[in-house]
Every structure is written in structure tokens, then in C-alpha cells.
Symmetry: C2
Amino acid sequence: MHKKLQELKTRLLEVNNLKSASAVLAWDQATYMPPGGTPARARQLATLERLAHEKFIDPALGRLLDELLPYGESLPYDSDEASLIRITRRDYERATRIPPSFRAEFTSHMAESYQAWTQARPANDFAAVRPYLEKGLELCRQFAEFYPGYEHIADPWIHEWDYGLKASTVRSLFADLREQLVPLVQTIADRPLADDSCLHQHFPEALQWDFGLDVARRFGYDMQRGRQDKVPHPFTTNFSIGDVRITTEVKEDDVSWALFGTLHEAGHGLYEQGIHPALEGTPLAVGTSAGMHESQSRLWENVVGRNQRFWQFFYPRLQAVFPAQLGAVSLDTFYRAINRVERTLIRGSADEVTYNLHIMLRFDLELALLEGSLAVKDLPEAWRTRFQADFGLIPTDDRDGVMQDSHWYADGIGGQFQGYTLGNILSAQFYEAALQAHPEILDEMAQGEFGTLHGWLRERIYQHGRKFTANELVERVIGGPMRIEPYLHYLRNKYGELYRIQ
Amino acid sequence: MHKKLQELKTRLLEVNNLKSASAVLAWDQATYMPPGGTPARARQLATLERLAHEKFIDPALGRLLDELLPYGESLPYDSDEASLIRITRRDYERATRIPPSFRAEFTSHMAESYQAWTQARPANDFAAVRPYLEKGLELCRQFAEFYPGYEHIADPWIHEWDYGLKASTVRSLFADLREQLVPLVQTIADRPLADDSCLHQHFPEALQWDFGLDVARRFGYDMQRGRQDKVPHPFTTNFSIGDVRITTEVKEDDVSWALFGTLHEAGHGLYEQGIHPALEGTPLAVGTSAGMHESQSRLWENVVGRNQRFWQFFYPRLQAVFPAQLGAVSLDTFYRAINRVERTLIRGSADEVTYNLHIMLRFDLELALLEGSLAVKDLPEAWRTRFQADFGLIPTDDRDGVMQDSHWYADGIGGQFQGYTLGNILSAQFYEAALQAHPEILDEMAQGEFGTLHGWLRERIYQHGRKFTANELVERVIGGPMRIEPYLHYLRNKYGELYRIQ
């Protein structure tokens, strides 16, 4: 068995090498590639993805997994080896449904589509991306058809990003959350808006950059095993546990954009840097689901990064970096500004309370597109109509409407967004559990120290990578299932105080 | 035949995609990769190189080439298709000698070795790289043994970089050149040294960066299909004809370092950007040999970049960028400074006259290492001894001695250096031919215009990529073989005037 396991690992390492190479090329495309590189990049990525896929669905690998299955089941469930065999087998069963030619076509299309989006968005030119989106939707529908027997056509995609969930479960969870959120948003909307003009002054890029990275480092993001680069739409990627990169976008007229963006990506980065080195080079060396990943990005960005105690420590430092802009602004004013609740157009800078409404809108539109009840040509109008219904606002253009996020253009339609709201819900649950175990986290935060919180998360969540499903992991960490109550409690508590709601 | 040719191209495109991906990963390693990425990067590169090699030496590809051979020979010799079949077959015959496992081991070793060098060089720690160099030498000797029947063990390596040449031909060429060069160096050494203190002031990095790139752009380097990044040891790489990247190193206390480095790499970049788009994705879409490549880097760096007419245009502009440093320095003083001939330690900044002595030293040491007449442990001492004999100087440390260049650490020992001197020789021959065809090149240069020279070189050399061997190409461009006389004439003319030698 030892020899067979070794052979499995060797085969998986080759797949990992190809996928990591593909990730490097995608990172390069987003960060530094000159425009002339686009056509060749699409075919390079397609070749890497196709080969990785071919190597992974090799029937010899399937036979190896069959032979190893009883051995895996004889080991403790949570051992590295049992998990490797169990998860790889699950992946194998899913992957063998997809022909390599489809994988290549999908990857190549998405590389071109992403590139088209990067140019069309600033030009507010939806017509330029529409054919890409139409072809992308067609491919995403084809993908779903490789998994016949689904309850909803989005299920195979939701499975891809948040294994174990279905459209119907997400819909019902979102309905429950929405029922509580909408009145909260309304109550806050009836109060006077917090003044956030202090955030909208001129903040030179280099100073913002250094400040954000300094916070990320204090969180525990390791620059020896990571770096940060500029992109039009930030993301985190990893090429190994030793090379986990974050990206950010800086706006000189908004000090909050890059800062919270950096903390968000640093949260993703902490997760992937925290995976146990024993899992390196295997399919287990990434975060376990979109929801779990977002639970970390949102925890570090919001629960920590928009916390009053956090700013007790960091605000004097931020003032020292920007004395002309913030020297005369009080901590309280600043704290209220970064937690201002307002129905706005942009998801990325939305406050914690309205954020989930942005997600629900995207989730529902994804489902409609996949179902075929909404055509791509009608998507801009559908976006505007729904936006007006949920936010009382009509986006002034498609740039800040249907072209706002890269997801549909870069990764496809389906399963792309529910993870953010799942992440919000889980972030509050995890934070509550961490505080219960270590109340000193609050005092540390006020000193700019995060070792206890980071260590607790690494120990309980990060180190396991993909060994456990999100559901299993939540059960292990919390001792129960995902629940919306801690999140609603967190929101009501924080915003009740901020907006003096009884 | 059309179908078979199409199949050949499809197979070659897959190989090209893998090799291009490998080039992206190598570029990333040199430019931006955090230290923690090293171990995984070595295995990622090894997998890509191994797969590219496996796909290329597939017997099915060999059969296809056999079947296409008569067809290729029926076409005009210089047609794209005849060249593709001819050159690919030559490559195939050479490549099938190398087992994929060797290719993987070699690549992986070189990635680790390069990384070790980047840390050992600043620390002046030869002991840290010695084991890498020893293993590298061993692998390079093994490589040569895959081509039995060589005249000299370095020949397979020289063939790899400068197809058609052997150690004995290079030695005899170098001996002829040396016979003329040594007295010239001595004559100049007897004259007073030009004053180059104007170059060694404080020149802020960002200003140097912009100035160098502006010249590169005026040469014709297309930033839509390229970019420049910082590295410890500059190089040029391409991931497609639409994505050809240069790199540079800036020293704030030496305005000439980054500038001439940028012009050198821009010369390489012009060559690869100038390849005809019809060759994209084939083995023909790179420069044809090290010597031909260096003929372009050295032509643009030296023949153009250290030309008096060039500086008639650019010097006032450089003064405007650095008024405090150069405002009071005359054009004549500056021109003499950048052409100061002096026996110094560093190849990269050596003047045109002594430069070839640096190359000959390295070439001879490579041969001795491969022959086994010199052990790696004795290399630092051998370097010092030879350096003293040729330059009358002893390197003060290994950093500027045996660890000065990345080549042996990053790419192996053998065939690494002769290309620079071949390039110097050819640069003068090409320039002479271009001037003969277009005497207006001189006036254009004095106006900062390079369209005629660039166009002539692109038409005669660049567009052909690897369709012709270096020897064939020289014959086509010059109407005769490579000769050292035009180069010696160029040197005697220029430096005779500068140093008032009769």
C-alpha cells in the first residue's frame, strides 16, 4: 500500500505542478502581462488546464484510488492519508465527467473573456463583452449537463465552489437572512447618514500601500511566502504553501478602498499560508470552499478590520501617515465613517449590513441565467430593475452595474457569489467561538496584536486545508452547524450601538 | 500533406505552450517570486520542461516529420513550411537523445542553483554555491555524453547555443582576435585614462528608468508587446511574439549601468519582437543563435548606444533629466566617459575593447571544467590567476570573480559565453552593411530616429526567427561569412580617434 500511496502522490504532484503553473500564468495576466500577450496566454492556459485535467482523470489514477480505498477507510478519518484518498476520490469522480477538450475550451474562453472585461469595463461597453458572456453562459450550462440528475441547473456549479450545498438550501438560507436584514437596513436608513467625507480626500498611493501591508503583516501574513501586486480586480492566489500572493487596487481619493481590500485578501492569504506543510503538493493544499474562504477574508476585513478596538491601536498610526488629511478627524468620526451603512452601487465597498443584498441579487441573476429564464442581452436591464427594487437606486451605467465584478467574465456563471454571504455568516460564528475560548483576543486587538486569534484559526481551520468539507469543519470548530443567528446578533449589536437603535 | 502539416503544427503548438509557460515561471522566479516559492518552483519548472520534452520527442512526431520530409524538400528552401520541417527535424534528432527524466532533473537543479546564486553572490559565499556548481557540471558533462562522437566535450553545448560551431573553430577565431586585441588594449592602457567621474554621482532610480525606456521605445521596442522589470541579473525572455519582456538592474551611483543594460536587452527584445507573426507558436519563433542574438544586443547597446551621433541627440535630454549632475559636463567629456577603456573586474560594464577578454577567460574556463582539467573547487583560484594574467588585476572577492555572472548557475556550464564575442564581431559586420545600404542612418541617429536601421535589421534578420542558421543568415545578409576585420576596423577607428592613436 505504501508504494501505491507513493504513486498516487507522485501523480497528484504532477497535476499540482501543472495547476500551479496555470495559476502563475493567470496571476501574470492580471498583474503585469502587456496587451500583446493576450492571444498566446489563452492558449497557454488552455494547454496547462487540459493537461492537468488529462493527467488527473487518467484511468490508472482511478484504479489506484479504488485499490487504496479500503486502506484509506482503515485509517483514522481525519488522518492526512485517509483524507487524501477520500477527497481525491471525490474529486476524481467529479472530474471524470468533464472531457479534457471542454476543460481547454472553457479555460481559453475565460482567459479571453477576462481580458475583454478589463477593457470593456472602463469603457462602459457592455456590447463588447456580451458575446463573451453569452458563450461563457453556454459553456457553463454545458458544464452542468455533465452532472445529470441535478435538482437545479446551478447545483453542479454551487457544488464546485461550496461542496455539499444546493441552490435550494442556499435560497432558503438567504430567504431567512433577508427577512431579518431588510428591516435592519430600513431602520438604519431612517437615521441620519454618518459623515464619511474624511475618507474621501487625496491619499497618496505609496503611503496607502505601505500602511495596508503593515496591517496585513501584523495579522500574520508572511511576506517571505507572499507578496502584494496591483490589479484592477483584487484576488488571492497560491502557487504553493510557500508562495501565496495577494493583490490590491488603490484609489487615491478613497483611503478605505485599498485598506479594506488588502485586509480582505490578507484573510484569504492567511488561510492558504496556514495550511499544514504536510499537505503541500496535494489536492488538499487549498481552502476547503468558497464560503470557508470568505469567512476568513470577511473576518479579517470586517469583524477585525472595522472593529473599534482595532482602530484604537491603528488610528493614531494612520493619522501619523496622513496628518494633513486625518490629523483633525477624531477616532469616533473615522470609526463611524468606515462603518457607514448606505445603499450604494458597489459591492466591494459596501458596508457589512447591505453587503448581502448585493450577493443575493447576483445569486438570483446567476440562477435565472442558468435556468434560461433570463437572456444575457436582457441582463443589464434585469440588473437595473432588481437593483432599484433592493436598493432604491438605479445604476447610472453598466460599468458599476452588470460589469462591476470580474467573476462572470473570468470564472463563469454559477456558484460564484453565495460564498461571500456564507462567509459573512461563518465569520461571526467563528469569531464568537474564538472569543469564547480566548477573551484576551479583544485586548490584544487593541494593542495591534493578533497572535492568539490567528493561532486559533490556524489550528482549528487553516492547517486542515481541504481535508474536511465546510460542513465537517464548521461542526468540528463550533460543535454545531452553520447558523445565521450569531451573525445577526453581531450586526444588531454593532450597528445598534452605532446607530443608537434600541 | 496539408493535414499532416496541420497535425505537426498542432503538436508543436502544445510544446510551445508548455515551454512558454515554463518561461513565464522562470521570469516570475527572477522578478517577483518570494523566497518561500523556491522549492515548489523548481518542481513546477521541471514538470513543464519534462512534459514539453516528452511531447516533442514523441515517436509519432518523428514519423510525421519523416513523412513530411520529401514534401518539405519540394518547397523553396526559405519558405516558412520548408524551414519548419527542416529545423524541427534537426531539433527532433537532437532532442531524442535526451531522456525526459534528465531534462526534468536538469531544469529542477538549475532553478535551485540559480536561487542559491542570488543569495550567495551578495554574501560573497562561494562555498554556498559550490555544491550546486559541482552537480551542475556533472549534469552538463552527462548532457554531452548523449552526443557521442564529439570532437570536444564542449561541442554539444556550443551546438546548443550556436548551432554549427565547435570548440576548435571558436578557439581559433578567438586566437586570431586576441592577437589583434591585446596590443590594442596595451596601446590604450599606455594613454591617460578618460575621466568618468561624471557617471558616478547620485542618479535617482525612477529617472534613470524612464530615460532608458524612452530610448528603448525610440529604437522601436514596443511596450504594447513588452515590458521592463527589475532583476539582479538582466535578461530578455519571450512568451510569444506579442509578449517579449526585458529586465534591468539600476545602480543609483552609476548612470551608465542601467542605461546600457536596458539598451542591450532592448536589442534582444527588438530581435524577438521583430519575428514574423506567421512563425508564432512554432520552434522558429525565437532568435537563431546566441551569437546572432548578441549581435543585436551589442549593436544597439554599443555601436548605436555609445556612438557620438547618438549622444548629439540624447545628451541634452539626459542633461535635462539630471541638470545638477550633468548640467556642467560637456558632451565630449560624457562621450569619453562612456567609452573609457580600462581593465576592470566586471564584464557587464566593460568597455568594447576589453570586453572580449572577459569572454575568452570564461570560455576557456568552461572548456577546462568540462574537460575535467579544472575542478570546481579550484575554479575561484583559476579565475583569479587567469584574471591577473589577462587584466593585470586580481578580483578582490568571488562576488566580482567567479560568481559575477548568473550563467553557470542558472543555465549550466558550456556554450554560455562565446555568443557575446561572436555577437560583437557580427554587430560591426551588420552595421557596416546597413550603412552601406542606407548612409542616412547616421543622420537619423543624430536626430534620435532609428526607423531605417531598425527596419533594415527586421527585414534582413529579425523576421526570419530560426528559419536559417546563423551561418546561413550571415551569408544572406552580408553576402559572405563572419569575419573579424570589420569589427577590428570599427574598434581601431573609434578608439584610435578617442585615444589619438595613429
